[in-house]
């Protein structure tokens, strides 16, 4: 296990820039989540760490060692794909032992270590089966065992749970999160599912258009988004235009007693939970009502024509066209610089 450092990593394909000058460190033993919309460069970043892409510029370091031009088979990196990519011509045990075989570990020891890993992942009884006879969740466990068997410097997970159903995903997420934390494996976890990233990762890096928007613990990313993109991508936010002065932000239709770093034009990111119903002086018009069971999601237009998303308890009989009184909880908004 070791630190993995990306130094101003850039990858271009012809005119297309997939990754644009990313500086990022995966700390020894942590699970770093990489999230972003498709095409943001997260998979390219993963493939560069694995050695399947050579960066156009920049370096990849494992601890202090520059591995930028080391071929994949000499990097000792564990890879787990969404599509599992297990070796169908071998048994589960042979799959897990394959990496050890390549390392020249003797047969008896290979078998023992593979069986230990299968037991750890709770699939010991599948050792002699073929991968094609297993369910998706079981295959993913085998994929993880195979990648962990080589005791990799870094474990790279590329959307490993995307193909699984919601219930299984939740269970596997908790289980695998605990396992990786116990083993203290340095892990890069690429996903488009921010909830998954929040639940499993020690820190999250948000990518957009090949650049790093923000990196930090899940709570920080959620509560104090650094950019409008992060505010919108991680949980939904409404961005309100305002002017900051003397510890107030003037939104035009109301004033919020929140501090901005500098006076002048700002944007205020507000989560759905920031809008409180019933008591406020802001009059908003309901434009859409979506019943979600335990709550109702409303879209409403503020006096400055911004559309906000908010949640109401249960079914309260809201209808499109209603005027509802709102207030904004200043504890739950975050001031961004004007973009």
């Amino acid at each position: 296990m070791s630190d993995v450092t990306l130094e101003s990593l850039t990858k271009t394909y012809g005119d297309e820039t997939a990754v644009d000058g990313i500086d990022l460190t995966i700390r020894d033993g942590e699970i770093l989540g990489v999230v972003g919309p498709s095409g943001c460069g997260k998979t390219t970043t993963l493939r560069t760490i694995a050695g399947f892409e050579t960066p156009t510029q920049g370096r990849v370091l494992f601890d202090e060692v520059d591995v930028t031009h080391v071929p994949p088979e000499e990097r000792n990196v564990g890879l787990v794909f969404q599509s599992y990519a297990l070796f169908d011509t071998m048994t589960v045990r042979e799959n897990v032992a394959f990496g050890l075989k390549m390392q020249g570990v003797p047969k008896a020891e290979r078998r023992e270590r593979a069986d230990d890993l299968l037991a750890m992942l709770d699939i010991a009884e599948l050792a002699d089966r073929r991968p094609t006879t297993l369910s998706g969740g079981q295959q993913q466990r085998v994929g993880l065992a195979r990648a962990l068997a080589i005791e990799p410097h870094v474990l790279l997970l590329d959307e490993p749970m995307t193909g699984l159903d919601a219930e299984l995903k939740r269970r596997l997420r908790d289980e695998i999160g605990d396992l990786l934390a116990d083993l203290e494996v340095t892990t890069l976890y690429v996903t488009h599912d921010q909830e998954e990233a929040m639940a499993m990762c020690d820190r999250i890096a948000v990518l957009s258009d090949g650049t790093l928007e923000q990196v930090g613990p899940p709570a920080e990313i959620y509560r104090r988004p650094a950019t409008p993109f992060v505010a919108n991508f991680i949980g939904s936010s409404t961005l309100l235009e305002g002017v900051a002065e003397n510890g107030h932000v003037d939104l035009g239709f109301t004033e919020l007693p929140v501090d901005a770093e500098t006076d002048g034009a700002v944007r205020v990111a507000a989560r759905p939970a920031a809008f409180e119903l019933d008591e406020g002086q802001i009059a908003a018009d309901v434009t859409d009502v979506t019943y979600l069971g335990d709550r109702t999601q409303l879209a409403a237009t503020l006096p400055d024509d911004t559309t906000v998303t908010l949640h109401a308890d249960g079914i309260d009989g809201y209808r499109v066209g209603d005027s509802i009184p709102l207030s904004i909880d200043e504890q739950r908004v975050h001031v961004l610089e004007a973009g």
Binding site: G51, E73, S83, T89
Partner: protein
């Protein structure tokens, strides 16, 4: 018999589904909806199951029978004393087999064995050459996106020209070497290579070629080792299928053989042709039977080889 029984069984499915919908009607307009659902499922069953399946089974049965009956009749006739008329008579005699296999006292120009061995050897050579050349070409086509990829793809399929045309081209282009075993070997390989490339290519395309390769390499296997221990075994079924097709088609190729073969020994296809035109029906029947027996045996052996180690056997 199977047609009606199966349609009876599947008929009960949608009917019970419609019943369960009726048992749990929605308070508003539920009856209309379940009536509609019943009507829809009935008409769907009637067309595809009641008519389509028996029709398909019938057509396939007739076609298979049309193709296999002559083979069976030929095989049976080769043991008969007389084949005048529709039904062969005078069972069982090994006289014709003896003659064809070279133990006879009179009859055909020569026995079939040298020609058969010659044809099979050349077909096997062509097949091996196709494995060595076709598999890497198929891999490159499936794995990489390279300049002129479409042209290579087209060129790999191009030799699907009639053997007659390729034969003429060979004899005209290489007047000194065209009519030789080497010419036959090159021709068989070239003529049948598209079948190898196409089957193996589709095998590569149906697996997760890139992901499998990257998994193996991240686990410490070099590229050559990955190809030999992971990729080729995963494509084994396609390679075996390609071998079966290229081998049988080459062994049975007549047009090209007729144009190019030099005559000593006569390749099997030529031998068959001469016998069918010169000798009695039953002798050629025996010869054809030898050929079919060998083809069937070869296919069985190759398929057993191909299936070994595949997961379908364990399911």
């Amino acid at each position: 018999m199977t047609g009606p029984t199966e349609s009876d069984e599947t008929d009960s499915g949608p009917a019970s589904a419609a019943e369960s919908e009726r048992a749990d009607p929605r308070p508003d307009g539920g009856t209309t909806e379940s009536a509609t659902a019943e009507k829809w499922s009935r008409s769907g069953t009637a067309l595809s199951t009641a008519v389509g399946r028996p029709l398909l089974v019938g057509v396939v049965t007739v076609v298979v029978a049309f193709l296999t009956v002559p083979v069976i009749v030929t095989f049976v006739s080769s043991f008969a004393g007389s084949a005048a008329g529709v039904v062969p008579r005078g069972f069982v005699t090994f006289e014709h087999w003896q003659q064809v296999l070279g133990f006879g006292t009179h009859g055909v120009q020569a026995n079939a064995i040298p020609g058969l061995a010659f044809s099979l050897a050349i077909a096997t050579g062509g097949m091996l050459l196709n494995v060595v050349i076709g598999v890497p070409v198929a891999y490159a086509l499936a794995r990489y996106d390279f300049y002129a990829r479409d042209w290579v793809n087209t060129l790999a399929i191009l030799p699907l020209v009639p053997g007659l045309i390729l034969g003429i081209a060979f004899v005209q282009t290489y007047p000194n070497h065209g009519r030789s075993a080497l010419g036959l070997l090159a021709g068989y390989c070239l003529l049948k290579s598209p079948y190898m490339v196409l089957t193996v290519q589709s095998s590569f395309q149906s697996m997760e070629l890139v992901r499998l390769e990257e998994s193996a390499r991240s686990l410490g296997a070099s590229w050559p080792r990955t190809v030999l221990t992971i990729i080729i075994p995963h494509a084994k079924r396609g390679i075996v299928a390609g071998c079966i097709i290229t081998w049988t088609l080459a062994a049975a190729e007549f047009n090209f053989t007729y144009m190019v073969a030099s005559g000593s020994p006569d390749p099997f296809a030529i031998f068959l042709y001469r016998n069918i035109s010169n000798a009695t029906h039953l002798q050629s029947a025996a010869a054809v039977s030898v050929y079919f027996t060998i083809v069937v045996a070869a296919i069985l052996v190759l398929q057993l080889l191909g299936n070994r180690g595949f997961s379908t056997a364990q399911r």
